[in-house]
């Protein structure tokens, strides 16, 4: 197969991008400081409900959207890494070809997981 102008390899997704300090708003920093005054061992973390705390949105007949300040481990024990994009969509139907991400395949079938509990067999 002719690949006349092959260029450098793709970024290796198994390696974390430059380990970016997780961004914090001024408010979060203040909250974190207050926290650490009461518990010196507490990791600074976004206050629940702040702009940066992770939010999972259940899309009707679709994936779980995850946005905010979060890390994801590819499997139990794996190093948690920052996501490749600011918002990710996690598969909820089991039909995806790029697990755990959604690839839109849920559109091709009636998905049991999307039905309200009372309608399932």
């Amino acid at each position: 197969m002719p690949h006349p102008h092959n260029e450098g390899a793709l970024p290796d997704r198994s390696v974390p991008r430059e380990s970016q300090p997780l961004s914090r708003t001024q408010n979060d920093l203040r909250d974190a400081t207050e926290l650490s005054e009461t518990d010196a061992s507490a990791e600074p973390r976004p206050a629940p409900g702040s702009a940066e705390s992770p939010v999972i949105t259940v899309c009707p007949k679709g994936p779980l959207l995850v946005r905010g300040d979060f890390l994801m481990a590819a499997e139990p024990g794996a190093e948690p890494l920052p996501p490749e994009r600011k918002v990710i969509a996690l598969c909820r139907c089991g039909m995806t070809s790029i697990a755990p991400h959604c690839d839109g395949s849920h559109k091709l079938a009636k998905v049991r997981a999307f039905m309200p509990r009372k309608d399932r067999d």
Binding site: A9, C102, D103, G104
Partner: protein, 349 residues
């Protein structure tokens, strides 16, 4: 390393209107008559035009007039971007384009009454893209020549991917603006130059052995493909049409994941690796996110916040499906009967 390239040679005219326009744009000191000639040529072309979607002369003219706003290619001499006469001439083509589309495109009836219903309606309208004809056909019948043609057809829009939708950001407010920024930021690689979608596509072209200079293949791309980019440029440049641009973006994102999966498979089938397929693979994952954001956060919020835009949002979505559908049909009709979908055999680069 990203190198900025631009097309240096003037495109080939496809009729009297585009001929007069190219003559004007490439002459640093045009005579006053040159503008009058252009105005008259465009007027005549509009008089004789039966279907502006497939009118080679008018779609090329419109494309070149919009090109002034994207960053004029090297062949343009002089400052034409805001020339009042060119804007007036462009408006006369746009008016016809918009009027014809408004007459031909079918809107859902009744229109949804709130954001939630609007999102559901968009998922319903875009459901046929779960079984995309052109993409599935290409995945099954891909040859080297067809894949090359496909990339050339795609290059007109994709080497400036996201830009015309972005023009609407300052025309929106509040939640809809934030949602559009969230989608577009991801289109631009979240600030990583190598992940800008148009750059990923340029890389696909290079690794396939094609030239990634924007518009270098303009001369061989038919009106149906130019119309598809012109549509977004028109929606993006007019504040009045911001609802239509939002609807267009939503329909575009919502018809992307499954077709791109098939396109990626078409290249894999011919032995191409990730250096070529990354663009398509990236869109499977990215647009599974974007379609949710576009339907719910962008359109849903805009319908709730500016309900008077609902009709235009659905006009934009339906126009996207209609115009892009015709461009895809053109390719599929040509390919399935053993013909090229391009105007003339592509130049060998």
């Amino acid at each position: 390393m990203t190198t900025l390239k631009e097309r240096t040679e003037a495109p080939t005219a496809r009729g009297l209107a585009s001929s007069a326009l190219i003559a004007l744009l490439t002459n640093g000191h045009p005579s006053p008559e040159a503008k009058l000639e252009l105005g008259a040529a465009v007027e005549r072309a509009l008089d004789e035009c039966h279907d502006i979607k497939t009118d080679e002369d008018l779609q090329l003219s419109l494309f070149l007039l919009y090109l002034l706003h994207y960053g004029p290619a090297e062949f343009v001499r002089g400052e034409w971007e805001w020339d009042p006469d060119l804007i007036r001439i462009r408006s006369s083509i746009e008016e016809r384009f918009e009027a014809q589309l408004r007459a031909e495109v079918e809107l859902p009836s009744p229109l949804p009454r709130d954001g939630k219903a609007a999102a559901e309606m968009l998922f319903e309208m875009t459901q046929p893209a779960a079984k995309p004809g052109t993409a599935m056909w290409l995945a099954k019948n891909a040859t080297e020549d067809l894949l090359r043609e496909f990339l050339i057809q795609r290059s007109i829009y994709t080497l400036r991917e996201a830009d015309p939708h972005t023009w609407s950001i300052p025309k929106l407010q509040g939640r809809a603006k934030a949602a559009m920024v969230e989608i577009q930021a991801d289109e631009y690689g979240g600030g990583h130059p190598d992940k800008v979608h148009s750059e990923i596509f340029a890389r696909t072209m290079r690794n396939f052995g094609l030239d990634d200079t924007p518009d270098v293949y303009l001369d061989v791309v038919p009106a149906s493909t130019l119309a598809s980019t012109n549509l977004i440029s028109m929606f993006g440049l007019h504040r009045r049409l911001r609802g239509a641009n939002v609807g267009h973006l939503a329909a575009f994102e919502m018809t992307s994941t499954i077709p791109n999966k098939h396109y990626g498979n078409a290249f894999r089938k011919r032995g191409y690796g990730q250096d070529v397929t990354w663009y398509f693979d990236e869109h499977v994952e990215a647009d599974a996110v974007h379609e949710q954001l576009a339907a719910r956060d962008l359109v849903g919020n805009l319908v709730d916040d500016e309900p008077q835009l609902t009709e235009d949002i659905f006009f934009g979505a339906a126009a996207c499906l209609y115009v892009d559908g015709r461009a895809g049909d053109h390719m599929l009709e040509a390919w399935s009967s053993g013909r090229s979908s391009l105007l003339t055999p592509e130049p060998r680069v």
